[in-house]
């Protein structure tokens, strides 16, 4: 049984087909969140071409995320970053057996519609692309296709769940090769979860109502989350992960899995690194195996990386306040 906190029964994305013999449902929370549960302990890799997707699949990725440009190139290119070419997404879907995800702009309902029609397995409403609506995220209950959203705090995560996200990734700073922000944010979410859990355990309803107001999310979702002491949906780490040790460290902080963006295909040893990051994610509890994985990569070939303090564009801040 998976947690269904915040579930909206009979939402638009839920389709019931009834005929004489059978009755089937699609797009239920169990199916959308359940899909994310199947990815747990895995690595999702950002790719821009079929070749990269095949390398990711062979390395043991559980899914690929299709982008037009890798986050570090989005950063360099400037301008408006939009969803990837449908032709390339389709080509990748036809060539790998693992699930295929693609990104749409925050709040861009019709980019999401196009991706849903293309039949991608999950849509990432992502801050890596230029937001299309500064005030509203997509109402994800309207879709049969599941969504993943980024979050830097418990409030942000729960607001996205309330809008229908079936999965969360704690945001780092994309395209930097710097894992610091991802670490800060998962620790923050963990601290906040501990705090609402202790309020729940103490039985202080008034304080929990206060928390719900602070988090800007419904009381019932806060209460149910506090009760289980974790996010009600699968939570991956993302943003700035560049090495096997980065991945293993985030797993040890309680993440359910890892998204790797520029870290793999911006490195010069992409193939070995892809495999090494998967190994370190799978066997993060075994120090000798993480060492073996780290040994597979050459630090001189890592993405150079950026200090987050010096950045003009902080992608993580996009969509964070609403």
């Amino acid at each position: 049984m998976i947690p269904l906190s915040g579930d909206i029964p009979n939402s638009k994305g839920e389709i019931k087909e009834v005929n004489e013999m059978t009755s089937i449902s699609r797009g239920t929370s169990t199916l959308k969140r359940g899909f994310a549960h199947m990815l747990k302990n895995g690595v999702v890799m950002d790719v821009t071409t079929v070749e990269q997707a095949l390398i990711a699949e062979e390395a043991g990725a559980v899914s690929v995320m299709v982008l037009d440009k890798l986050p570090s190139d989005v950063r360099k290119a400037g301008g408006v970053a939009r969803t990837a070419s449908i032709r390339i997404i389709q080509e990748i879907m036809d060539n790998v057996t693992i699930p295929v995800m693609a990104k749409c702009r925050i709040g861009h309902v019709y980019e999401a519609n196009v991706l849903a029609e293309t039949n991608v397995d999950m849509i990432d409403e992502s801050e890596v692309l230029t937001p299309a609506d500064e005030y509203h995220h997509i109402w994800k209950w309207d879709y049969t296709t599941p969504f993943v959203n980024g979050a830097r705090s418990l409030g942000e995560a729960l607001r996205r769940v309330e809008e229908g996200a079936a999965m969360i990734r704690t945001k780092g700073e994309p395209g930097t090769g710097n894992v610091a922000e991802a670490i800060t944010h998962i620790k923050k979410v963990n601290d906040e979860l501990r705090s609402i859990k202790s309020i729940y355990d103490s039985g202080d309803k008034q304080d929990l109502v206060k928390m719900a107001r602070e988090l800007k999310v419904s009381y019932s979702l806060v209460e149910e989350t506090a009760k289980i002491g974790r996010l009600p949906v699968v939570n991956f780490a993302a943003g700035g992960i560049a090495t096997p040790a980065d991945a293993a460290y985030l797993m040890s902080l309680g993440c359910d899995g890892i998204f790797v963006g520029s870290g793999i295909f911006k490195a010069e040893d992409a193939k070995e690194r892809a495999r090494a990051v998967v190994l370190a994610t799978t066997f993060w509890e075994e120090p000798d195996k993480v060492k073996e994985a780290q040994k597979m990569i050459d630090e001189r070939q890592s993405i150079l990386g950026l200090d987050v303090k010096d950045l003009e564009l902080k992608m993580q801040e996009r969509g964070g306040t609403v």
């Binding site: 747990k40 895995g42 559980v62 879907m93 049969t144």
Partner: protein
Amino acid sequence: MTLNIGVLAIQGDVTENFLSVMASLSELGIDGAVSQVKTAEQISKLDGLIIPGGESTMIGQMSLVNGALKTIKEKIESGMPVFGICAGMILLSKNSKDRIVGDVEQPLLDLLDVKIERNSFGRQKDSFEAEISLDPIGISSFNGVFIRAPSVSDVGKEVQILAKFEEKIVSVKQGNIIATSFHPELTRDTSLHKSFVQMVKDSKS
């Protein structure tokens, strides 16, 4: 005598199966322990194993890397009951093909005498819940949660068909092997997990 049941914890929905086995043991009043297992050494001590849902290519590759796959195969050949769910069903099979991509190179246990069609019902948007019956093992109604599910396209002589959905085979049994293409661990219904725990118990006495 305590039953020692393990859930293969390489990748996928391990915790959900862990909890379903815990619930089954307590509902049946059977003395047993359940653990999450990764290494050959842990697997060698088991009386029964669940291979959970996840990505079969990944679980196969990683359990090949650490030597777990070989031990799993030996244990099943020597009679240990195993329950393969979705990805687990694919891993147990002798032959697997993707509906769109076709032949895929992936490590398989090569034990369950079936041909598998991966992603048989389509992509995630086509994933569905529907009522299934597994009459041969006494479960007349079960909520089948099918997520990018495989189906069985061909079965060998030793294989018993437990359930079909719209003419596609979605659950089979062959001796000590039981497999489903849907996810009982995502529901509250423990009847399939209980049936497996009972299988493990019977194999010990």
